[in-house]
């Protein structure tokens, strides 16, 4: 019974993968033929299936860039960087995209805070867990070795790996909590109106955001999002004005 289930799951997985691979190469062909609208439709259809990959976000970003939709291009590259934070190609294209976005708000925080942020942002949650598990294995091995040979060297060794294991675990927890408590989005529409409350009323219109800017999402309702920007502005925008990075 278990074997049959396994075979079934494997078959479905392979079929699914083949289908998305075909779509991916089809979208790439559209891109090569400068049919960027068609390429976007196919790339987005893969995302709609619940599948994603770093390359998909990268290619989607490139396609939006070619169409001059720098807001969506930025969204795609940012999503790609979430999956692969040290991807040089995505970083390169993202920097170029930011240059194309007018009124980009990038206000740096304190240096130490940024070092920590950059370190945490340089690795994915999965990578931190992998590192932690690897350190746990080394710690276990060195501990067992120490039980056998009982030398000071083996003691130092297992203390060292224990420290790295706790460091990796701490980073995993911090990364997990940070991702859970901080969600971001990219403004899609030009001159997105910022309101002081979740109502369409010109009297409470407090500011304007331009497309392509990355903002932090504070809270959400069914139609509105409360956001705060890098320059300290805070207010409500409509759900259709933003694409969330999650």
């Amino acid at each position: 019974m278990f074997r049959i289930l396994n075979i079934l799951l494997l078959t479905i997985g392979v079929a699914y993968s083949q289908s998305s691979d075909q779509l991916f190469s089809e979208a790439n062909k559209h891109y090569n033929n400068n049919q960027f609208d068609d390429a976007i439709a196919v790339y987005e259809s893969i995302l709609d299936q619940g599948l994603y990959s770093t390359d998909l976000y990268y290619n989607l970003g490139n396609t939006y860039f070619r169409l001059g939709d720098f807001a969506n291009a930025r969204w795609s590259y940012e999503m790609g960087l979430i999956n692969d934070p040290r991807n040089k190609d995505i970083t390169y294209n993202l920097v170029l995209t930011k240059q194309k976005i007018p009124n980009t708000l990038e206000i740096p925080d304190s240096q130490i805070l940024n070092m920590i942020n950059n370190f945490l942002a340089s690795f994915t949650y999965e990578e931190f867990i992998f590192f932690s598990s690897l350190m746990l294995l080394f710690f276990s091995l060195s501990f067992t070795l120490h039980r056998i040979i009982m030398s000071s060297f083996s003691a130092r060794l297992y203390y060292f790996f224990m420290l790295l294991f706790f460091l990796g675990t701490s980073c995993s927890v911090i990364k997990f909590l940070w991702e859970k408590n901080n969600s971001f989005g990219v403004i899609l529409n030009d001159e997105t109106q910022l309101y002081s409350a979740p109502f369409l009323n010109d009297d409470i219109n407090i500011s304007v955001f331009f497309s392509g800017n990355k903002v932090k999402i504070e809270q959400t309702t069914d139609k509105w999002l409360e956001i705060s920007s890098m320059d300290g502005r805070k207010g409500w925008i409509r759900l259709e004005d933003i694409r969330t990075l999650e």
């Binding site: 699914y16 993968s17 998305s20 691979d21 991916f24 190469s25 790439n28 891109y31 619940g50 599948l51 994603y52 990959s53 770093t54 390359d55 998909l56 990268y58 290619n59 490139n62 396609t63 860039f65 999956n83 190609d89 970083t91 390169y92 294209n93 993202l94 920097v95 170029l96 995209t97 930011k98 240059q99 009124n103 990038e106 206000i107 740096p108 240096q111 940024n114 950059n118 949650y125 999965e126 867990i129 992998f130 598990s133 690897l134 746990l136 294995l137 710690f139 276990s140 091995l141 501990f143 067992t144 039980r147 056998i148 320059d231």
Partner: protein
Amino acid sequence: MIRYLLAIIIFTTSLISQDIETFVVNKNIDIDQSFNFTIKIKDIDTDPEVDISPILDNFSVIMGPNIGSEYKFINGKKSTSRSISWTIIAKKSGELKIPRLKVILDDKKYFTEELIMNVSKKATDTLATDMFLKIEVSDLDVRIGEQVIITYTFFTRIASKVLSTEFPKYKDFWVEKLFDPAGKQIKPEAWNDIEINGYKYKSIKIYEVALFPLSEGKFDLNSMIMKIETKEKDPGIRRLFWDDPFFDTFSQRTKARILVSEQKTINVSKLTDEPEDFTGAVGNFNISSSVSSNVIENGTPITFYLELAGEGNLSNIGRPILGFPDDFDVFDGEILIERNIADSVSGTITWEYNLIPRKQGSYIIGAISIPYFDTIKESWDIAKSDPIKLNVTKNNYVDNNFKDNQLIDSKDIRYIKLSDTEWKTKNSSNINSLSFFIIITSVFVFLAPLFISPLNNFFQEQSLVFKNKSALLNALKLMKSSDSLYIDCPKAIMLYCKDKNLIDTINLDSLSFIEKIKGKVKSKDIIVVESILSECSQYNYADISTKNSIKIQQKTIKILNKINSYV
């Protein structure tokens, strides 16, 4: 058909006009003279509803409405009528219209007649009056945006009490209140003593506003109306003992008076030859600019302040559009307006601009010029600030993106990925299978020492059991493969005893060996073993025949088999 319709309308109108009568006692009045306006409705028993708001543009209601009823019996027939009256006063002079008013009676609408009132300006004769309201206007001929200060002062020679005040409303002007007595307690020391034409008056400032004309034209300012209660001598009562008005309360009577300020007309002319960058400043101004910090790091926001100080229409000046260096991101900040507490006429307006420099270097924010119409010189002038130097230093903050910024020269993105990609699902776990396998393995490795020790003991036990069982066989094998039975027979015996756990080691001399096995092997068997060991010891170095050695071997095998049967 149309003729009939017209006849019906005229007939109905005449009927209504017969039912409702509107009248005043005198249509020719002075501006400070109050009068009764009455609406009389015949043949009704219910109170009518009258909307009087249309007359409030030109008149002010001092008292009312007062409703009265009248009953008449003519030839045995009863007729009733109701009258509603208000005491009103004109706000300005000239030919003022009391428009048709809507009267609702039993859910039916009626309209009163229109009345024209001739209101004449009364020459202010301070000699003749014991109290008056004075209006002072700083300038009657002004330009659009020019500040006009209007002050209302109350003068009196007799004890009086202000019952109510109706402050004028100024259309077509931007109004800033400079002095408003509402909610303030007027202290006795606030009254000033002043002598006018030989008469001593007490005076107090009642109201002061700054007006800023918004359009050109002639504008009549509505009068201020004050209702005053006075105590005056009653000529009908003669005083008996003394003539001191302070103690004389019996011979005084309370009287209400209405004071109306003089009407003024302001001529507003438009500004000509406006400069292109004119933002509405009219008055007399100075400008200054400053920044929150002159030395800043690249990417750090600063605030640029532009302050315009002086007398004029501060609230009506638009934010100037300034030309900052191209490498700065500019965001409009707050606008702060502050009035000078000392004179309430001058003040400052400060515009804030939030700047974020994007490149390092030295920058100069040039001198800022704001054109304004100087109301003193009656000509255009320019307020100019000094230029400001800014030093933008390199940001110590290292961002990979900024580093990459400098690397990008080609200005084109890198090409798409064409190879197969590794797909993930949105719902996939954050812990991949490899990590999971490593964690499980680590747990096992960590716990391994706990299992090793018992396992070791088990194997040792098993080994001992095996040795025990194979003790005789090992001893026999040793003897079988022996070249010198005199040496190997004792060895075989000792090996057998060791495998059977009777002794710890085989490196024992005969006496020690015998001592060790005592109690574990039967006594008669020990004697046999002792004899074999002794015999082997004797013939070990002697050349004894093989026949004897075989005998010893057989003897050894026999005794070992015997011992093996019970050990």
